[in-house]
């Protein structure tokens, strides 16, 4: 009989190590910012008034909330309409092509802004006297660009929400009520957790962003925070100014987290096959088709517009060579961010099983204004790790801080699709130490980790708010270069850079979806 060894020692908990790293790199600076603010407020209580929005600041807050609410509501409604229509096309070429509309999800809104502005200018010129009433700045333009930019996210999440509805529950209702009643009474309420996530996430993303409103001279609150820091260099002032938006984003985050958790945790349930053959009222089908056309328009306007504006391959080549240093800087930051964030995401995934508090904690960086993340990192690393401050590590830390939670959620969702017993059996039958990890767990989850790293890569490419503040002097990312160009109007060079960025991001999200689906095939 062979000798067996019984291990009684507890293994080092890798997810705890990872959470400590994330807590250190992100929460250490944030906690220090809060402590600094508290001390400053004790010394000069007057500054606390910065947290109270009055006068001009109140107007800015109303602008921000108005924009975010209208964009998130529009994206959710269009997402439900377009998503339900796209789910009625299950077969053939269009059954696959429908997912292409979602590839533009990581493309940041300011790239949409370029093509949208050109389109509107063209319309204004073409319509002559009739076009004079078309506004080229302000709320209208900011609203349109944000809706177009976040629509792929809205449509994609709405489709996922519908697909997670229990198929038999829908069919049982279809026998007793007409299809429209089944849609409103059964499908929509059951998909509501995911749809509420769309509402919450889009609101948070719009209210914390200043890139699009500033391009259209629409004053919003998040720009005030950035401007305050640029003018005063005071972390305390910026943090206090952020409090009203933070209160709203935290409240929404707690609501969105519930929806997101239930969406991710339901991924093992049998899927609803779609609305193929449903008989819906004509007015509703008309609304669905209109929503799909808006979705197609965002894709065509973005890709087609950038190709037309770039003009020729020579212009594209010129744009790339002129910005070659920035391309290298961007790649270093994004690739490092993807590798570190992907690995941390895998380790942190275990924490998501421990309860809602970890979901909230890990999602916090997504809900904070990106400029506030940058401001905290400056204070924290300038004080405690000055050797890191001012190096290329800072923008890497910024993207890891902002997007690691996204990676953790993707890896966790992929794990939920698998039979838990596969992991339990690996632990039970493990002969050599770490065999379960290296020979079963990692191979089974490799596609999920790859998908997470690719998504993190795509989002890192477009990160602006935090990178702008922490990038080392003399360096610039492609995003910063584009953003600076955009303020001086469109040109062939900026269109070329945007085209490259958009194509790379779409390719990355396509590869991520492919990797994620590969893991699904493996489980069948």
């Amino acid at each position: 009989m062979g000798e067996t060894t019984v291990s009684t020692g507890k293994r080092p908990d890798l997810s705890s190590v990872a959470s400590f790293i994330l807590l250190f790199i992100f929460f250490m600076p944030l906690v220090q910012s809060i402590a600094q603010t508290a001390m400053d407020a004790l010394g000069d209580p007057e500054i606390v008034w910065l947290a109270v929005p009055v006068g001009r600041r109140l107007t800015l807050l109303v602008n921000s909330f108005g924009l975010a609410a209208s964009v998130s509501l529009s994206v959710a409604v269009l997402g439900v309409l377009a998503g339900s229509y796209l789910l009625s096309i299950n077969e053939g070429f269009w059954g696959k092509a429908r997912w292409a509309l979602m590839l533009t999800a990581p493309v940041p809104p300011y790239i949409h802004a370029l093509t949208w502005s050109t389109t509107m200018m063209f319309l204004k010129d073409s319509l002559g006297a009739y076009g004079s009433s078309i506004p080229l700045s302000g709320f209208f333009m900011s609203y349109c660009v944000n809706v177009l930019a976040y629509l792929p996210l809205g449509v994609g999440l709405a489709m996922v929400g519908f697909m997670l509805v229990e198929s038999e529950a829908v069919e049982a209702a279809r026998l007793v009520k007409d299809d429209y009643r089944v849609f409103t009474d059964i499908v929509l309420p059951l998909a509501m957790p995911t749809i509420s996530t769309v509402l919450g996430l889009v609101f948070i993303l719009v209210v914390t962003d200043f890139s699009v409103p500033t391009l259209y001279s629409f004053n919003v609150y998040s720009l005030e925070v950035f401007s305050e820091f640029s003018a005063s260099n005071s972390t305390s002032n910026s943090l206090l100014l952020s409090l009203p938006t933070l209160a709203a984003t935290f409240a929404l985050l707690s609501v969105s987290i519930r929806g997101l958790r239930s969406t991710v945790q339901s991924s093992s349930v049998a899927r609803f096959s779609g609305f193929n053959g449903w008989r819906l009222p004509e007015w509703f089908e008309g609304a669905q088709v209109t929503a799909v056309l808006v979705c197609v328009a965002q894709f065509v306007l973005l890709v087609g517009g950038l190709i037309v504006e770039t003009g020729s391959p020579q212009s594209l080549w010129f744009a790339l060579t002129a910005g070659s240093d920035d391309v290298v800087t961007t790649l270093i930051i994004s690739i490092s961010g993807a590798i570190i964030g992907g690995a941390l995401g895998y380790l942190l995934m275990e924490k998501l099983e421990e309860g809602a508090q970890w979901w909230f904690l890990l999602s916090l960086p997504l809900a904070l204004p990106s400029s506030l993340v940058g401001i905290s990192l400056i204070l924290g690393y300038n004080t405690w790790l000055p050797a890191v401050y001012g190096t290329m590590l800072m923008p890497v830390i910024a993207v890891v801080t902002r997007f690691t939670s996204l990676a953790a959620i993707i890896v966790y969702a992929q794990k939920r699709k698998m039979n838990r017993l596969l992991f339990d059996a690996a632990e039970l039958f493990e002969v050599r130490k770490n065999d379960a990890l290296w020979r079963v767990k990692l191979p089974l989850q490799m596609q999920g980790i790859t998908a997470a790293a690719l998504i993190l890569f795509a989002f890192s490419l477009g990160e602006l708010g935090a990178t702008l503040l922490v990038v080392p002097p003399g360096s610039e990312t492609l995003t910063i270069r584009i953003f600076n160009y955009l303020h001086y109007g469109g040109s062939e060079e900026v269109a070329g850079l945007c085209l490259v960025m958009a194509v790379v991001m779409m390719t990355l999200s396509g590869l991520a979806a492919y990797a994620y689906n590969l893991s699904e095939g493996k489980m069948k």
Partner: protein, 210 residues
């Protein structure tokens, strides 16, 4: 009467239904037995209008419902169903699940719930029910819908013998009393003792039991 004529359906190269024909008359019970994967559930879905066949016609009370394309949608077929899984709507209480299919006399619902021993559970959410309780509610829901035909797909699967026998009686009493036409699908032949006619479905072919 529901009339199924020459219905055929394949998934790729696998023939699930091959020239299947049968009739379900009001007040009569048609039983179908067959092993797993023999096409029983697919046949039920085609009759209910939840799926379309490749060939064949389904007529309901003389009106073509599938030719094989869908002419009448599922809710217009005067059909109720009990599925293999309870399929209760999780955002509604038990009472709301019943009210959704049955808008008339609540007394009926109360009586039926009492007869299956669940009258105390009407205010619960489906997530608060055990597997057996959820299955009983789904049977009550299927019976309560004011429909002329009832399709049942393994309605008593995974229940203990006493419960099976009790539910069997409730189903029989109700469907005979209401003169419902019933299609009863199962892999347990004993459940079909009261059926007027029993078919065997195997490899997509339907034959009368010898």
């Amino acid at each position: 009467m529901i009339k199924v004529e020459g219905v055929a359906k394949s998934y790729g190269s696998i023939k699930v239904l091959d020239n299947v024909s049968l009739e379900i008359k009001a007040g009569k019970t048609v039983g179908i037995v067959g092993p797993s994967g023999s096409g029983k559930t697919t046949l039920l879905r085609v009759i209910a209008g939840l799926d379309t066949a490749d060939r064949g016609i389904v007529t309901i009370d003389g009106i073509p419902a599938s030719i094989p394309e869908l002419v009448i949608g599922p809710s217009g077929r005067n059909i109720s169903a009990v599925f293999q899984v309870p399929a209760l709507w999780p955002h509604m209480t038990v009472q709301e699940n019943l009210d959704y299919v049955h808008t008339r006399e609540r007394g009926n619902a109360k009586g039926l719930m009492e007869s299956v021993g669940l009258s105390m559970l009407v205010d619960r959410n489906p997530s608060e029910l055990s597997g057996g309780e959820a299955r009983r509610v789904s049977i009550v829901r299927g019976l309560l819908a004011d429909r002329k035909y009832l399709l049942m797909d393994e309605p008593l699967v995974n229940l203990n013998p006493q419960l099976k026998s009790m539910l069997h009686e409730v189903i029989m009493e109700w469907t005979v009393g209401k003169r419902m036409g019933v299609l009863y699908i199962t892999h347990d032949r004993k459940e079909l003792d009261y059926a007027d006619i029993v078919y065997v479905l195997s490899h997509g072919l339907l034959e009368t039991e010898s």
